[in-house]
């Protein structure tokens, strides 16, 4: 029997579930590399924790089976499985560290083993939505605590003393009274025979005893290998007899290959084969686009071969997609009423009767992820079996999709998860792995499909394109009495099903319907927009345009009423309270239960106040400099940012200083939180300065870092300071990977206004300051 919590069952998870002893055979099946003691564990009460998460509602929910996650070898080496994908957040270190903490293991004797894609075994593995810590902090503590308890029981039995008299101390079990000690390795096989503690007997460590949790003293497990070139990413996998492939894909979404001439390509030295690659009609979720594959003895030859191909495409229905025209369409739609998705009071009449109406219409174009490692995958199909090596954020989903695409059972597919050279949501879509699987099957050899940067920019699952229009009605005293926000953008749902024109609850819930201001009359609307390109998740998703619009609007209202933007922001947030979203049909709330993860304006105020204090809001800055502030709750975390900008007389902007405060509840590794926030500032600055993917005749107009630039070190902020709000004793953990991005662009834009008096409502900034 397995300890799987399926989605339906998790919420009834208050009681412990049955306990299982495991045999040597199970051990070998589980973590054969480590051997020794493997824990069969029970599950602890979730009543011990003052909050619930939505983890159980994820596909395959949570598996709380330490047998799957922990092994102790006779030499004392503890192996802990990381089942989430490492793309730079540090999760491959953080979650195993939590297990080690509860075990009181010595981190230097812990090894981390990456799980392959198997959600029945490991539970949900989708590394997205800034969920890993918030969903797994408690389960990993439980797993670690159960392991420690069993080691303690084994030692107590051997010494013939009550278990209460022994305790785990730094990889040993110690009997205080007699001074006796036994190492974890010496106890491993005895511990495996111990009965598994029930929930009453299970003691979690007290926070004051933490050695690792919350301390930030432990470097990431891959640190050394990354600095020596030994760290293995998707592209670094090499198999005997492996071929190298690149694919020419239809330049327009939904386009098809008409004909191709392979002759010149076949003459390129090293090219071995040119063949059609199977594609699916759009939309088809993550299925490949198809086209023509060039197979060669190395990637360079494949690329050169592809350059020599003669290709004829049928562009299909999206061949007229034009970003300039599309923007006009969106703007027109945003000026008319649309589907009402949140309504409190009567915003229409309040706007009519307002003393003053401040209107802002904000535009944010498509964005490409351009993770440093372009998509890449290796596949080896042998008969009805397939093995994949790929940098995927969705190991379980990849396994499912590969099985479906090849028409083989899921059990015949092994997905090995390599390190990801960045993900940002792009690698949640496994199209590149499917391409490799199809080609390997066809040619009967292992294949690596490498995307070039041009492929990545032209065939991404792009961040949507949006117009956000906000009208704020003010009374005579300058108080905001009405708020109408129309958000219009093609939905990610359009990638899954034709004809989706409204945003999904998970998009509406990212900064539109969860707007936290205390205003009597609110109307949030979502007019229709049809997609003409593949739309997907981009780090922070719809929060990026929404925070840009809402937080710019706050500063615009401050300007209109002659107030300080920070004071205006706090006034709009209003009293400390839990925001009542009962007027919203599906508030989504990042999949989390609202009582555990409400919109708490006290926390929102707190990050504003903290960043204002530490970031010295209101300080005197040199001429040409300005300060801007913004706050946003996303992924159930609260983040406020102050940007100091300097704009010279030629319109060139630099960023002398960034200050960010984050409240992400209970946390594991503050050092990695800091690095995520530093990185979020760079990503925010990149999208604000340069981020634009545009279409003409259905084709992406950009191709590489020359025409889709990202921020480089010489234009990065001189300093980014990060302040982490210390959590209360029962504050649930919340997101870190994404929430730092949304407030950056509006804080920057507000700073530019303070510095220059120019209000930018259309991103990217581009040359707008040069005029």
């Amino acid at each position: 029997m397995n300890f799987i919590q399926n989605p339906g069952k998790l919420r009834g998870f208050e009681k412990s579930i049955s306990i299982e002893k495991i045999t040597r055979r199970n051990i070998l099946k589980g973590l054969s590399a480590a051997g020794g003691f493997v824990l069969a564990a029970p599950v602890m009460s979730r009543q011990a924790f003052a909050y619930q998460t939505g983890a159980g509602a994820m596909p395959h929910g949570i598996v709380l089976d330490p047998r799957v996650f922990v092994a102790i070898a006779p030499d004392g080496i503890v192996t802990i499985v990381a089942h989430r994908s490492e793309m730079g957040t540090g999760v491959r270190t953080s979650l195993p560290l939590v297990v080690a903490e509860e075990m009181d293991a010595d981190w230097s004797k812990v090894r981390v083993q990456q799980a392959h894609g198997d959600e029945v075994r490991y539970g949900n593995q989708d590394t997205d939505g800034s969920r890993s810590t918030r969903h797994y902090l408690v389960p990993m503590r439980q797993i670690g605590a159960a392991a420690r308890t069993m080691l303690e029981q084994a030692a107590a039995r051997r010494w013939g003393v009550p278990a209460a008299e022994v305790k785990a101390v730094n990889h040993e079990i110690v009997h205080g009274a007699s001074g006796r000690k036994l190492g974890f390795g010496e106890l491993a096989s005895d511990a495996a025979r111990e009965s598994v503690p029930g929930m009453e007997g299970l003691k979690l460590k007290e926070a004051k005893d933490f050695r690792y949790l919350g301390k930030g003293q432990v470097g990431i497990v891959d640190l050394h290998d990354i600095t020596t070139g030994a760290a293995r990413y998707g592209a670094d996998v090499r198999l005997p007899g492996m071929k190298y492939a690149v694919i020419a894909r239809p330049p327009v979404t939904g386009g098809k290959l008409v004909s191709f001439d392979p002759d010149a390509a076949l003459k390129v030295p090293g090219v071995e084969k040119v063949m059609q690659a199977r594609g699916w009609p759009w939309p088809s979720k993550f299925q490949p686009l198809g086209g023509v594959a060039v197979i060669a003895r190395n990637t360079g030859a494949a690329i050169k071969g592809r350059d020599a191909l003669k290709l004829v495409w049928d562009d299909g229905a999206n061949g007229k997609y034009d970003s300039v025209a599309y923007r006009k369409e969106l703007e027109e739609v945003a000026r008319k009423p649309g589907l009402v998705v949140r309504k409190e009071g009567d915003a229409d009449s309040a706007l009519k009767n307002a003393d003053k109406v401040v209107v802002g219409e904000y535009y944010l174009p498509h964005l490409a992820h351009v993770s440093m490692e372009p998509p890449v995958a290796v596949a080896d199909v042998k008969g009805d079996k397939c093995e994949i090596w790929a940098p995927v954020q969705s190991p379980g989903g990849t396994r499912e999709d590969v099985a479906k695409t090849l028409g083989i059972p899921e059990g015949n597919v092994t997905v090995n998860v390599t390190l990801l050279g960045g993900g940002f949501g792009r690698k949640s879509k496994c199209d590149f792995a499917l391409e490799a699987a199809l080609l390997s099957k066809e040619i009967g050899a292992p294949v690596k499909v490498q995307w070039t940067r041009e492929d990545d920019v032209r065939h991404d699952f792009l961040h949507t394109v949006s117009v956000e229009r906000i009208e704020a009605g003010l009374d005579k005293s300058g108080k905001v009495i009405a708020w109408r926000h129309r958000s219009v953008a093609p939905s990610i749902a359009s990638t899954f099903a034709a004809g989706a024109v409204h945003q999904a609850p998970f998009e509406l819930g990212m900064g539109l319907i969860d707007m936290p201001f205390e205003i009597a009359n609110i109307s949030c609307e979502n007019p229709e927009a049809a997609a003409h390109a593949r739309i997907g998740w981009f780090r922070s998703v719809s929060n990026v345009p929404r925070a840009f619009a809402v937080q710019s609007m706050v500063a615009e209202i401050a300007q209109a009423t002659g107030r300080d933007p920070k004071d205006m922001l706090l006034e709009l947030i209003g009293s400390p309270r839990i925001v009542n979203l009962s007027s919203v049909k599906d508030p989504w709330n990042y999949g989390e239960p609202y009582d555990s993860y409400p919109i708490d304006t006290a926390r929102l105020r707190k990050v504003v106040e903290l960043v204002a204090e530490k970031g010295e809001w209101g300080r005197a800055v040199p001429k040409g400099h300005g300060l801007g502030i913004a706050v946003h709750r996303s992924f159930v975390s609260y983040v406020a940012t102050i940007v100091e900008v300097a704009v010279d007389d030629k319109g060139k902007l630099t960023v002398p200083r960034v200050d960010t405060a984050i409240d992400c509840g209970t946390y594991v590794n503050p050092e990695r939180i800091q690095s995520q926030i530093e990185g979020a500032a760079i990503m925010g600055l990149s999208l604000a300065k340069y981020g634009e993917i545009s279409f003409k005749d259905g084709k992406v107009q950009q191709k590489n870092f020359d025409d889709f630039p990202v921020v480089r070190i010489d234009e990065s902020p001189q300093v980014t300071n990060v302040y982490i709000v210390p959590p209360g004793p029962d504050t649930p953990p919340s997101g870190v990977g994404e929430p730092g991005v949304p407030p950056f662009a509006p804080a920057l834009i507000n700073a530019i206004f303070a510095a220059t008096g120019k209000r930018i409502r259309s991103l990217p900034i581009g040359k707008q300051l040069e005029a």
């Binding site: 070139g229 190395n298 690095s675 070190i713």
Partner: protein, 150 residues
């Protein structure tokens, strides 16, 4: 037949002389520490040191390095303890890590040329290397650290 030295070892190549060096390193020899990020000398992920100079291996053909000495991240230091590598670890620089080999090679070349670079010199010398994760503040700190001796 093109002959060159890679990390102190003699290597030869009798395929396409125009093949970009990165693919000889990665696909033909198996030195995968050098990363492919753009293929157009725009990101620096593929940086190696040829003789004493940082070079983008994605636009350098094998014939252009005939008879020369190529050092990749794997050959920078036998135990991975070059001052730059040590500084990188001390400063906890990487996030995803994918750009880091190129960054480290660029920084090592910079310090060979200018052992005590200023703040602005570091920013200038490292500006050809993109880090999409945005580790720039730490990269700068680590180069400082390496230049002052760790």
């Amino acid at each position: 037949m093109i002959k060159l030295k890679i990390n102190g070892q003699e290597q030869s190549w009798d395929g396409d002389p125009d093949l970009p060096l990165i693919w000889l390193l990665r696909d033909e020899i198996g030195l995968t520490g050098t990363k492919f990020g753009c293929g157009q000398a725009l990101c620096g992920s593929c940086t190696v040191i040829v003789d004493k100079e940082a070079v983008r291996s994605c636009i350098t053909s094998v014939k252009d390095v005939a008879g020369r000495e190529v050092t990749t991240i794997e050959g920078l230091h036998p135990t991975g303890d070059h001052a730059v590598q040590k500084a990188w670890r001390q400063a906890n620089v990487p996030q995803c890590g994918f750009c880091q080999a190129g960054q480290i090679m660029q920084a090592a070349a910079l310090l060979m040329d200018n052992p005590k670079p200023s703040h602005d010199q570091i920013r200038e010398a490292m500006s050809g290397n993109i880090c999409r994760c945005g580790c720039y503040q730490r990269i700068e700190n680590a180069v400082h650290l390496a230049s002052t001796g760790v």
